[in-house]
């Protein structure tokens, strides 16, 4: 079966970023774990500079696996991943599905990590760290240890750590799943703002149809067992997107289309 | 036949010719003849058979020299030396050929390789009497290689053992300095037992001491092959040459049979020798004065001269 390309009703063909140079292309990737767990089958995906791509799909369909492939943390069983740009270290950052904080370091030290690995002293980036922590609402927790935080707070530290360096490419695996809706909305807006400010590329895993529509210009819908892409939707709505977009009829239409695609994915069995 | 009393004798080293007399008495039935069934518990570098005797786990223990008996007197331990099978301390110092011209000269060498027991006994005397230096001493781990490697060293040894090994493997005959000749006039290879054993079963002590003396006479002057077989069974590495060398040296230096033993028989002790050694040690400050030395030995069993007849009949053959 091949991926079909649906376009939501209001697709007006607006390309929000000027230079959409290719960054990375995955071609016909298979990933098999162990002997017979086919996590991904024949996945192809082109990522261009400035894209905001959401991966959407049922639990266990290979979203995290795809993200790890892109981050070069695992290698495909077959198929090829082509980087079209120089991967300078520091250009990439990730938010894993688990917070993955260093338990021995305070919140601020955890957020400092990407800078530290670039050789920057904590004092020289104290402003950036404070700003990132304020973004996620943890300005009062600089000196707390991870074990003293709630689940959602840990995840927010992880988000702050990913954003603090203003990276060119951000990979996020369900970053907002543990957060309440209001914080989530706020962080959605903040993320889009950051994106338009620094022009980064985002690959975003989410379970929320609403979130994926609000944030992305492309939504990749995947099905499970074996994990594969079954729909790719384009949300051709201009950035920046404001809160009003959430109540617009275009938004609702896109959501409905995406929901249908997701339902498709759930019902797909080979 | 009849009922035999089981006793154990703890030696101070693995089985070797220096224990020949005891093995001889087992092999030819001398102990059995007076009612003992003797087991020998071999010692080793870190085996503490004396503690076993103090605790009553074994009956007799082979003492090195008299210094430790003096310690027992000081500590009020009811232990007695009942025989001394070596009239002379067979302990020697070895040095590379020509490196020392006298015993006293040895103290000018770089290192002296002395075992822990040696350090606690004769080295104390060497320091006090000759001015040897405690800091030059390094422990002897019963491996002569460091001595062979270092020309400016001396090491301890038994006249009957180390010279043989060093000559064979090291390729040179070391100079030998007998402590006994330098003034260390103690008996050696003593038999120690607890006072309670003497009180409760004097016949056992008598049998063991006399049997041992006869054993030694037979071992030195008769046919030692049965005893040697037992030694080699207990210590499979003991070679025939080594045993022959040891017996020869024991005879050559009169280790077992000389001095007091010539009149009172093998194993004999005299108060003069013991008191004389004690006084000398007090003089140089190795032991303290005023110990009740008379309480730590007994010539009651050792000076009966039982071995004299055995020796005479063997010599006349």
């Amino acid at each position: 079966m091949t991926a079909t390309t649906k376009t939501a009703p209001d697709s007006s063909g607006v390309v929000p970023f000027a230079a959409r140079a290719p960054i990375l292309s995955l071609k016909n990737i298979d990933k098999v774990f162990g002997r017979d767990v086919v996590a991904l089958k024949g996945m192809s995906l082109d990522i261009r500079n400035g894209d905001f791509i959401s991966l959407l799909g049922p639990s266990g369909c290979g979203k995290s696996t795809a993200l790890r492939l892109i981050a070069d943390l695992i290698h495909p069983t077959s198929g090829s991943i082509r980087w079209q740009v120089d991967k300078t270290p520091g250009a990439l950052s990730v938010v894993f599905q688990e917070p993955s904080l260093m338990p021995w370091a305070t919140v601020a030290d955890n957020v400092w990590l990407p800078f530290r690995l670039q050789g920057k002293s904590r004092a020289s980036v104290a402003g950036d760290i404070a700003e990132a922590l304020e973004l996620v609402g943890l300005e009062n927790f600089h000196d707390a240890y991870p074990r003293e935080l709630s689940g959602g707070m840990k995840m927010r530290v992880s988000i702050a750590r990913a954003l603090v360096t203003h990276p060119r490419i951000i990979l996020m695996d369900e970053p907002f799943a543990a957060l309440d809706e209001i914080t989530r909305f706020k962080l959605n807006n903040d993320l889009l703002e950051l994106k338009s400010k620094i022009g980064c590329t985002v690959v975003f895993v989410t379970h929320s149809v609403f979130e994926s529509v609000f944030l992305s210009d492309r939504i990749v819908v995947m099905a499970a067992r074996p994990g594969r892409v079954i729909h790719e939707l384009h949300v051709n709505e201009p950035y920046p997107r404001s809160e009003e977009f959430r109540t617009s009829s275009e938004y609702v239409a896109h959501c409905r289309a995406t929901s249908d695609a997701l339902r498709d994915a759930m019902e797909e069995h080979i | 036949g009849g009922h035999l009393t089981e006793v154990t004798f703890g030696t101070n080293w693995v089985a070797q010719a220096e224990h020949g007399g005891y093995y001889q008495a087992i092999a030819d039935g001398t102990y059995e003849a007076c009612g003992l069934s003797v087991t020998i518990a071999p010692g080793g570098p870190q085996v503490n058979n004396r503690a076993q005797m103090l605790a009553g786990k074994i009956d007799f223990h082979m003492g090195g020299n008299l210094l430790q008996a003096f310690s027992a007197a000081k500590e009020g331990i009811p232990m007695k030396v009942v025989a001394a099978h070596f009239q002379k301390e067979p302990q020697v110092l070895l040095s590379h050929p020509g490196k020392a011209s006298s015993f006293e000269d040895l103290k000018n060498l770089e290192t002296l390789i002395i075992g822990d027991n040696g350090f606690q006994s004769f080295y104390q005397w060497m320091m006090a009497d000759y001015g040897f230096d405690a800091e030059k001493r390094v422990p002897y781990t019963f491996n002569p290689a460091p001595f062979i490697a270092n020309e400016n060293s001396a090491q301890q040894g038994y006249i009957t053992s180390e010279p043989f090994a060093i000559e064979r493997e090291g390729g040179f005959a070391p100079d030998i300095w007998l402590l006994a000749d330098a003034g260390f006039t103690t008996y050696a290879t003593t038999v120690e037992t607890m006072q309670s054993t003497i009180d409760e079963s004097p016949e056992v002590v008598k049998c063991f001491v006399e049997g041992s003396a006869i054993g030694w006479a037979n071992y030195l002057y008769g046919d030692p092959s049965a005893a040697n077989a037992l030694i080699q069974a207990d210590n499979t590495d003991m070679s025939d040459e080594q045993i022959a060398f040891s017996i020869e040296k024991m005879k050559e230096y009169g280790i077992v049979d000389s001095g007091d033993a010539l009149e009172a028989g093998i194993g004999a002790m005299t108060a003069e020798t013991i008191e004389g050694f004690y006084n000398k040690m007090v003089e140089v400050g190795v032991v303290e004065a005023g110990l009740d030395i008379a309480s730590i030995y007994s010539t009651e069993f050792s000076n009966t001269g039982v071995a004299l007849g055995v020796k005479a009949s063997l010599m006349s053959n």
Binding site: W104 | K74, T141, P146
Partner: protein, 285 residues
């Protein structure tokens, strides 16, 4: 689950709360009183065993006699203790450096590990008594020789535990470091070493006692000529002179030193981990 009368239940639950408070209080007191009681009891038992069995002092001296020896011979014993302590701490220090250093080396590549770990094991199992002569043929300084001997005894637990710790870093964090392009050195410094800390400290606690043993063994095989006589020498001497109370006094000092080293290392360990590691943090309940 039966639904009970709500009113009747109230007192019982308050009791529960009070019980908990009482238990907490007891625990606080007990944590100090009980160990002291056990020590007192064991000393009393020791005394009784000696008295009941009429053990002579040259087999097992009673605590009174040992204490007496400790007091009377304090000057001698204390000097020896300092010598032993010096070697112990020196050996522990190089065991830490050597153990952690080797562990770091071994985790740099499976090749190095497969190639050189066997030699570490060989060092561990080689009887010091047998190779001490070899060491002293080639090492001139006595102190250096002693430290090498004690080090051989003590380094392995640190090496083994630290290696394990370095390999136990959380894989998500490893991945994170990879994504951020961390160098090998950075990964080691900022990720693997902190992850290995609890394991290392566990090894350290084992090595603390071992370096004390190592110091004693080293003294046995090497003597301490030049740097004074340590406790091993005192034990040997007292044993040879049948001065068993003094021997036990020296043994007692070794035991106390061992407990003290262990307690100190445990305390260091606790301070280093209490902020974050499962085994050390005090959970608030």
């Amino acid at each position: 689950m039966t639904i009970a009368d709500p009113i009747a239940e109230l007192p019982q639950i308050d009791e529960e709360e009070a019980l908990r408070a009482r238990r907490r209080r007891n625990e606080k007191v007990g944590r100090w009183v009980l160990p002291i009681l056990v020590i007192a009891l064991s000393i009393w038992l020791w005394d009784r065993i000696v008295v009941w069995n009429e053990l002579p002092h040259y087999i097992l001296p009673g605590p009174g006699r040992v204490l007496q020896a400790l007091v009377e011979d304090w000057a001698i014993l204390f000097d020896s203790l300092l010598v032993t302590l010096q070697i112990t701490l020196g050996a522990l220090a190089i065991a830490v450096v050597g153990g952690v250093g080797l562990a770091v080396l071994f985790t740099q590549s499976r090749w190095i590990e497969m190639s050189f770990f066997p030699y570490a094991v060989i060092l561990q199992v080689t009887p010091v008594v047998s190779i001490a002569p070899l060491i002293f043929i080639y090492v001139d300084s006595r102190l250096a020789g002693l430290l090498i001997c004690a080090w051989i005894v003590a380094f392995f637990p640190i090496l083994s535990n630290t290696t394990m710790g370095l390999n136990s870093a959380d894989h998500n964090l490893r991945d994170l470091f990879k994504v951020y392009g961390a160098s090998r050195w950075q990964r080691l410094r900022f990720l693997q070493l902190p992850s290995a800390l609890p394991y290392f400290l566990g090894g350290l606690r084992i090595a603390g006692g071992l370096s004390l043993i190592g110091a004693v063994v080293a003294e046995y095989v090497a003597g301490t000529g030049g740097i004074g006589s340590g406790l091993a020498f005192r034990i040997l001497e007292a044993g040879y002179r049948l001065n068993i109370p003094r021997m036990f006094a020296a043994l007692f000092l070794i035991a106390i030193t061992g407990v003290f080293i262990y307690a100190t290392l445990s305390f260091i360990s606790h301070m280093a981990l209490r902020k974050w590691h499962e085994s050390a943090i005090k959970r608030e309940v």
